[in-house]
Amino acid sequence: MLKIEAIFRPERVNAVSTALLDAGVTGFHYQNVTGQGQQRGVEVVTGRGGQATTRSAVPKTLLVTVIADDKKDEVVEAIVSATRSGEIGDGKIFITEVRDVVRVRTGESGADAI
């Protein structure tokens, strides 16, 4: 079982949701984070409007879904296609192994619980 963590532009969250559901993912969760990477950041106005400065940390959305190992490529592909714009700041996907999963409602665990 794998945990896929994807960080991307907030306005893409609906597209990602749809793509994941299409790819047969059973569930996911997401939240707003502040991200910093190669993207130069966003220009914000300071000094009450008199000056502008670049804020390197920008709003991003972090989405997490746990999937079966064999779904990895499909899911990564789904996320990439829903988030790629080709501009710096598109985001990254991190993949880690999950040892176990438990579904609270039923007590099922392992692959059945995904």
Partner: protein
């Protein structure tokens, strides 16, 4: 007694009271989320504390006959003011109206020292400052025995008494309390800033048009020039902001409106619509540049109280002299050929700047030395945020537990 004037002055007094919650949100939106409750409380508690001071001894010191420099204790606890006293409007209504000014003036100062000033010390400061700084200057300018009144200095609604006074006291406070450890770069809540500016603008009609102390044509004139100056300054600030940064900062436009309202305050009973346009444009431009210059000087006047209120008040006081129209307020200004009006204006500005700076610094110096008081919150309190440390509250609770 004229019921129309009573009606208007009751309304105006309520409007000025509302300016303080407005200021609380204007300032509160500008700080970081961990300090918003504290910032709001600096203003809100002034509604409580300044009112009590005002009715107990503040009004008497400011408006008792006294000398040229200060009133007296003849009306302590408002004794001797009967319900039917007064001409035009009851004396008690004037007391109430003026009491609202005594609330907002110290609240304005707090913008200088937000995010680090010790709250309990602030309460003591507020009482001393109203007594030792506000009441005397109020007496100088607005009591017929006051030396500035006597000299003919023009201040319709508080350019010197309220804004220059608070602005320079803010400089004193920023100097004495020192810089924040770790100032933020973005306001935590822009809608609050605009809400505050909206309530201030609304309430300012009471402030300026109420200073006619009657529902008459002078009040009407003050009303319309107030609106025009606020509008012009907001627009000027916004356009310059856009020219400099390519974006029109909402905080900038809101601040511009306040700068325009400040600058028209002393002038509102003396100038016409054209004067108001000029005053608004001047304040919008000059205060904007002053914000950067003062920041550059290394003074951590956190919310730019001097740049907006101090300087805005000075611009207004000077341009009152320039644009005064005899047909409106009874005094001609420089443009109408009466250059003599400038002397008292300049003296009024300088006297207010000097007196308020020195006495405010002296008060803070003493408070800093008193065991158990002191000006500055602890480093831990500042890091953690003043909301938790001084009030035991978080502004926004939205984690799982709600």
């Amino acid at each position: 007694m004229d019921s129309g004037s009573i009606a208007w002055m009751l309304t105006a007094s309520a409007l000025v009271l509302l300016m303080t919650p407005g200021l609380a949100f204007f300032y509160g939106g500008l700080v970081r989320a961990k300090n918003v409750v504290n910032t709001i409380m600096y203003s809100f508690i002034a509604m409580a504390l300044a009112t009590v001071v005002w009715v107990l001894w503040g009004y008497s010191l400011a408006f008792g006959p006294g000398s040229a420099f200060i009133g007296d204790l003849s009306a302590i606890g408002l004794q001797g003011i009967g319900i039917d006293d007064g001409e035009g409007v009851p004396t008690l209504l004037f007391v109430a109206f003026q009491g609202m000014f005594a609330i907002i003036t110290p609240a304005l100062i707090t913008g200088a020292f937000v995010e680090r000033f010790k709250f309990t010390t602030y309460l003591v400061f507020l009482v001393l400052w109203l007594t030792l700084v506000y009441a005397p200057i109020c007496h100088w300018v607005w009591h017929e025995n006051g030396w500035l009144w006597d000299m003919g200095a023009l201040d319709f609604a508080g350019g010197t008494v309220v804004h220059i006074n608070a602005g320079i006291a803010a400089v004193a406070a920023a100097m004495m309390v020192g810089k924040r450890r770790n100032p933020g770069i973005e306001p935590h809540n822009v809608p609050y800033v605009v809400l505050g500016a909206g309530l201030l603008w609304f309430g300012w009609f009471g402030f300026n048009a109420g200073s006619a102390v009657a529902a008459d044509t002078l009040a009407v004139s003050a009303f319309i020039v107030t609106n025009v100056a606020a509008a012009t300054a907001a627009l000027t600030w916004g356009l310059i902001s856009h020219m400099r940064t390519g974006k029109m900062s909402a905080v900038g436009v809101a601040t511009g409106a306040v700068a325009g309202l400040v600058a028209i305050t002393p002038a509102s009973g003396f100038v016409g619509v054209m004067g108001a346009l000029a005053i608004g444009a001047s304040a919008g431009a000059i205060c904007l540049f002053a914000v950067d210059i003062i920041k550059g000087m290394g003074l951590d006047d956190a919310l730019d109280v001097f740049a907006v209120h101090g300087l805005g008040g000075i611009i207004g006081a000077l341009l009152t002299g320039v644009f005064a129209v005899e047909a409106i307020g009874g005094t001609a200004g420089v443009i109408e050929g009466n250059a003599g009006v400038m002397g008292p204006q300049i003296i009024g500005i300088l006297a207010t700047l000097g007196y308020s700076l020195v006495v405010t610094m002296a008060i803070l110096f003493v408070l800093d030395k008193i065991p158990g008081l002191g000006l500055r919150a602890s480093e831990a309190a500042e890091d953690q945020g003043m909301d938790i440390s001084a009030h035991g509250e978080r502004a926004f609770v939205r984690d799982g537990a709600d």
